[in-house]
Amino acid sequence: MTRHARCIALALLALPGLAAAMEALDDQALGEISGAGVGFFLDNFYYDQGSASAQVSGIKDSQGNALTIDFERAYIKGEGSQRGALDSEAQLGTPLHPFTLKVVSGAAAPTLPSGTQALQLKTPTWSDPLNDTHQYGLWSYYQGCLYGESGCTAPAQAQTAIDSELGGLEASRDTILARYQSVGFLTLKSGIDQDMQLVNQRRAQVATETSDVQGAYGTMETRYAAAPAWDGFYRKPAFGEKYGCGSLCLTSAARAYNSSVNSYQTQLDELAAAQKALGEAWSVERHGYSLNQRATDFDEFSALCGAPTAESPTCVVGRIQKTKDNRTSVVLVATTLQNGGTRFKGLDIGVEATFSLPSTAYSMDGNGTIIKGATTTRSDFFSINLEGFTLNGAYLNLWGDSTGLQGEASLQMYADKLIIGGCRVCTDANRAVAKNLYFDINLGQASLQPLNLSVLAGGELRLSLPSVTWDNHQAFYQQVPKSNISIGNLNLGGVDLGSQVVRGMRVDYLDLRTVNLPR
């Protein structure tokens, strides 16, 4: 078994004072350190599993059959390692930009409730546009292609893309503004609120009638089950139809069933009337537009520009302003790249494994019916590689209170490429290749929505985020950060499927409990 690991220097730094000239600490000096925290970085290292092997077992399929995973290769090297083929040395942090582990409070962790201290792990943090993950990740999504590759040498391509998006949003805003210019947005809102009172009344009526229909249907089902096969000359009808004897049936069960059919029909009629009335309430017109249209327009405008506070509203918050802010970052990154700026190099990380797992064969027979066949063991090769991976600006704050372990976390991850393969000898044209991969995942906010981690009595893990409330909703929507996931371009087996994005995601409430599988 051979294994290669090289570690030239891992520096432990006492904080603060990272920029001061560094000297080795002796035991006495170390003894004087009082927990202000440590900073550390890894310099000029690489890791390569080489020909060593590792096996994971104990995992099962949904039927309880065992499977194994043999890890054949793993590496962590510096960017440019050609998927681990070269022993490029990597660097995690620098003396000026180290990982830090320390106890924080006050200005160092402004979201923490007053008087609370937290243990904070923070990754290297840069503020320049190319190494700040948020700014570069944002630019990379709009850029789409991997900068520096053939055909991708114009960083302003991202600027064109975000300008196009911004233009579309502003056009939507202008359409709504023009529609209600003579009305005024406060007047518009007032009319909506008045008309919504009727809608809410009728919604409640529809809910009541829906419940009544369900109740009547249940009664009809019960009585149908108890109804006789024959009532005199009348055979038991299909469900929902009545015995021909009406209210003069011989058996009480048949009469009761017929009655329940009548009741069900009556409830259906009442529901139809309630639905119709609700539809009419939504159709009430003011200023030439139905309530449905007015409410839609007002909501759309509010999302674009923030809730109007004047008859002629401004547009200084909302999605348009957010996009303008993003544009500033995109332009800054593009300009810096045009001026020859470069990024601090990231990591190349890779894992190759073979899965031996039970696999069930399905096939279609001559009649077009899909048949479930035998289950045999399949051996699958699987690889994951990350190129140019950085984790700049991420942090995890942990603290405890009477409700258990609390936290807030921000994952800021960017990679030039994520490559997933199922073949040993092949090219990227046979793999899944995601370029410009950016994860901006924010979970929890210490004051308004602390992330709670706990273990339940049965061993299940529980992760929860308390809900936004009426009392805190304004601060919540201003301060609890949103998350973003984007891929500049996804290529599957040589086919481009373009960009993919989940943008501006906020989890307003979460309760996640793990469960043993199979259930």
């Binding site: 570690c7 520096a11 539809g279 373009g498």
Partner: protein, 368 residues
């Protein structure tokens, strides 16, 4: 790095080396039964393998129950240039939903505001592989799905590719009233209009129809035999009609309430902009128990060809055909009386559009 690195180098090299080497060379010993008995394990993850149609699949299942309320500014999948006969709009992406939300807020603009979460059970991630003509095993697709899901799904749906099957149901009288409104008829003139008269005769009989993603203007679900993509409308498919359980009325409906390729049924619009459906309810609104009321088989996928994904909602070994690009599956499960649709809208909603349920606390309905 200077002197500190030089002086720390031996120590740190040893430290790093010992970490790696110890992890690799520590002797592994089996645990005794008594030791194992003290451990409470969690089988959070299972892996499933299957093959079908030349594809190999590997699915990673996560055992979890998740309740959540989330608001997302924009969800856009498959954002690339596409110009095929079955591309039925000029939208830029296969799936594009703004102000996407899962869950809702009741009494949103009052102190009684209460979150009603969206429920998800057992999410999974699945890969599809296919060996190409040169014998190379390629990645063909990736999908994210849910064992069960139930709750309000909201958004401004600009474009959707995949399967979205719903049921629209309501009273014939609702259809008649809408028809009269659209055609400027009154109670008297209605009697001289065949469609209006037929709907009048139907009274309050319940009528219903399955709705699917369709091409605007025609109601086509396929073009040249290929399923449409980038749909902007949903409705009664071309050639389909409303139905009723009223045995007397049912034979009449195909004549008076069919979409014959003009997106009209009985003189009523039969195709509706997806943007009008601002909120739908996934699963059975009346069954709070996720085991019963949760919709099965919902997934989002990306694939480079027509990958058939296993239909986890089906009990008869079905696979769902997809097409290259991004794909969303909100298909019904079961057939006939046992069919459960991912969403059911009353006819008045289909005709007038489904209003968005509040997804934010306060006076913003969306965009919070």
């Amino acid at each position: 790095m200077g002197s500190i690195c030089h002086s720390l180098k031996p120590v740190l090299t040893l430290l790093c080396g010992s970490l790696f080497v110890c992890a690799a060379q520590a002797e592994l010993r089996p645990m005794a039964d008594s030791e194992l008995a003290e451990i409470t394990g969690q089988a959070l993850v299972t892996l499933d393998g299957l093959t079908y149609g030349g594809f190999e699949y590997t699915r990673v299942n996560l055992g979890a129950d998740i309740d959540l309320l989330t608001n997302i500014d924009e969800l856009r999948l498959g954002n690339y240039s596409r110009n095929q006969p079955n591309t039925v709009s000029n939208q830029p992406a296969d799936i594009w939903i703004d102000n996407f939300a899962l869950g809702r807020v009741d009494n949103a603009n009052s102190a009684a505001a209460a979150v009603v979460p969206f429920q998800v059970r057992d999410p999974y991630l699945e890969f599809a592989f296919k060996t190409n003509g040169a014998g190379v095993r390629e990645v063909a697709g990736i999908r994210l799905g849910f064992g069960r899901a139930r709750g309000d799904l909201s958004g401004d749906i600009h474009s959707l590719t995949g399967v979205m099957q719903g049921l629209t149901t309501g009273s014939a009288s609702t259809a008649r009233d809408y028809y009269m409104q659209q055609n400027g008829l009154n109670g008297f003139t209605c009697t001289f209009n065949f469609n209006c008269l037929a709907l009048s005769l139907a009274g309050n009989s319940e009528i219903y129809s399955e709705v699917q993603l369709v091409m605007a203007g025609t109601g086509d679900t396929t073009v040249d035999g290929q399923a449409i993509n980038r749909a902007t409308h949903i409705g009664v498919p071309n050639g389909s009609s409303f139905h009723t359980d009223n045995a007397l009325l049912e034979p009449l409906l195909p004549a008076i309430a069919s979409n014959n390729g003009d997106c009209m049924a009985s003189g009523l619009s039969a195709c509706f902009p997806l943007l009008n459906y601002k909120s739908i309810f996934v699963g059975d609104r009346t069954q709070a128990d996720l085991d019963i009321g949760g919709a099965q088989g919902i997934f989002f996928s990306l694939q480079n060809q027509n990958v058939p994904w296993q239909d986890l909602a089906a009990t008869n070994n079905q696979f769902i055909a997809t097409q290259s690009g991004a794909f969303a599956n909100f298909a019904k499960t079961g057939e006939g009386a046992n069919a459960m649709y991912p969403f059911i809208v009353s006819l008045y909603e289909a005709l007038n559009g489904a209003a968005r349920v509040p997804t934010c606390v306060g006076d913003l309905s969306k965009g919070c």
